[in-house]
Symmetry: C2
Subunit: 348 residues, 2 copies
């Protein structure tokens, strides 16, 4: 790739660099040619000394400490909410901007929650932290954005089919080990998920809240409202873990304020940033995990006038939750910071 | 089990006896001690000579022909719609009542479509044929029945998680073979499903119709209306195949005419025939394929006031589609025929 030698470059740190999302962040930074000056890979003690390739060099993983962020411009966090809460304040004090993939700060009114295709202007409101949305919300809203701009969406009913890598590398190992145990007649081990996931589906992701919805399901409501700046939109979700390795899918029914035809939806989606339309039933073409894995775009198909509600459309969406649902969206936020000259290096 | 020696017994034939549902029909007839005089097992030429155990005896599988039904009182059909269309007229001419698990006659206005817990009285309207509903519809309505009786349901949004045995034994083999091929690095074979099903989900069951819904999805609308005798109820379904061996699950949101509390729904479901409530999030207890497999009852859980609609409740349902979704419901219909003395043997 041709590089602009005069371009400004930035020191980037990744906290949680050895996790499923961290690995993708490194890959996305390289593939999108993000202007990295120095890349610092941070993880917990158990990963120290591991080497990870970036631009043809091997980078050693260092221990994440409160002193890790000196000279760092952008810190991408993906090591869980408790790690974010412990270390992000130090990162911010060091003068860098933290882009947090955990749920730690998503509902904090001082922290913008950003999908670059939808609310890029919100990065300007940051006070040191910008949150990356929950994977399922990011994928769903990336697809629905253009429809929402055409005619406000009032209600969404969504049922998700979420892959095991949403729970990290250990989620994938657990599925594979359980399948292996079942085929060899051994007892299965359960640790990452509340029940057996091999040959099963589990309608339970994150913890239950008082109203009977899980936190994962409530995130889809709260984050949708925050990203769209629309307190009137309602989202009723059922979030379900399925024995798929990566890519989250969902069945979505949405009701719009004014009537919208399927033709209009197709027209809008075929011209939406970050969205690929895959909508040809006659050729058995619709989004699926096996065809969506590794793709930056979110896929939409099975688009049809809903038969139960007026002004409603039903569709099927798949998106790689490690990419648009996590690593890609975080790097896109970092790109916005560069583009808008928001980083301290742009001013000092 | 104690048998009543004076009881009337009936000649029963099963067409499609070697299929996934046929095998379950034999098992259910035995387990529920159905008054069988003679059991005839019928299948296509390729299965002739196979032996299947019933009440400690081995029964040879015979070839299904138009002459198979002389002296037969009840014929249970589960060999696909085209076999039903070819052979059921001969069965009816022979004077027996056909209970058809295929979709062949479900929309025929002369053929009742029956879930014994819901519309048992409809068996009396038969003209030789009674249809068994589609698996997903049977499971969903068995659970929703008592709620519907309390307050008419106006709209249902449902997303299904359907197991591969809904496509028969070959569906299970295909999933197992694909998983084996993937783990040994061989190329996978696709024949029963339109795409790879291992580690994937496929939003496509049965063929597509003009409105963008599949036939499987439209069955959930048409069959719900027919069983409930309610042309005003709407059902919008997304039917999805998941890599689970047996049991269909579904995320259901329904809107009722009058307001209904979660407490009332729990009260109704805990007292519903054919339904087991499994609704204790604090103990991670909710319906799932692994715990529902082999059970006659349908399971309901995750019951919560819906947050997007007024007068709405969301829940999660699992049911063994080979049992309540097929074999069990068919045998329950046969039991109704006996109980109501509808069979010719009761009058001749």
């Amino acid at each position: 790739m041709k590089r602009n030698n005069d371009r400004k470059e930035y020191n980037v740190a990744i906290a949680g660099a050895t996790g499923a999302v961290g690995i993708k962040m490194i890959d996305v930074l390289e593939k999108r040619d993000f202007p990295v000056k120095n890349l610092k890979l941070l993880a917990s003690a158990s990963s120290i000394g591991k080497k990870i390739a970036y631009r043809g060099k091997e980078i050693f993983v260092e221990k994440l400490t409160k002193d890790s962020f000196k000279e760092v411009d952008i810190a991408l966090f993906s090591a869980g909410a408790s790690v974010s809460r412990e270390f992000i304040p130090s990162a911010v004090s060091s003068g860098c901007i933290a882009i947090d993939n955990s749920s730690a700060y998503r509902n904090d009114e001082n922290v913008p929650l950003v999908i670059p295709e939808i609310n890029p202007e919100d990065v300007r409101l940051h006070k040191g932290i910008i949150s990356n949305p929950n994977c399922t919300t990011a994928i769903m809203l990336t697809v629905l954005n253009s429809v929402y701009r055409y005619s406000r969406i009032r209600k969404i009913v969504v049922a998700s089919y979420q892959s095991v890598s949403g729970a990290g590398q250990k989620g994938i190992s657990e599925l594979e080990e359980q399948i292996e145990s079942i085929s060899s007649g051994n007892e299965i081990k359960i640790s990452k998920f509340p029940h057996q996931i091999a040959y099963n589906v589990i309608p339970h992701i994150d913890v239950f809240t008082e109203n009977g919805y899980t936190k994962e399901e409530m995130k889809m409501l709260y984050e949708t409202r925050k990203i769209l700046h629309d307190e009137k939109i309602s989202v009723s979700a059922t979030c379900v873990r399925v024995p798929v390795k990566s890519v989250h899918s969902m069945a979505v029914t949405f009701i719009t304020e004014k009537n919208i035809t399927v033709k209009k939806v197709l027209e809008l989606l075929s011209d939406s940033e970050g969205v690929t339309l895959m909508n040809d039933p006659s050729k058995n073409a619709y989004p699926m995990p096996v065809t969506t894995e590794g793709k930056y775009n979110c896929f939409a198909g099975r688009i049809r006038k809903d038969i139960a509600f007026k002004n409603a459309v039903s569709m099927w969406i798949s998106g790689d939750q490690l990419l648009k649902g996590a690593a890609l969206n975080a790097v896109q936020i970092a790109e916005l910071l560069v583009k808008n000259k928001i980083l301290k290096r742009d001013h000092g």
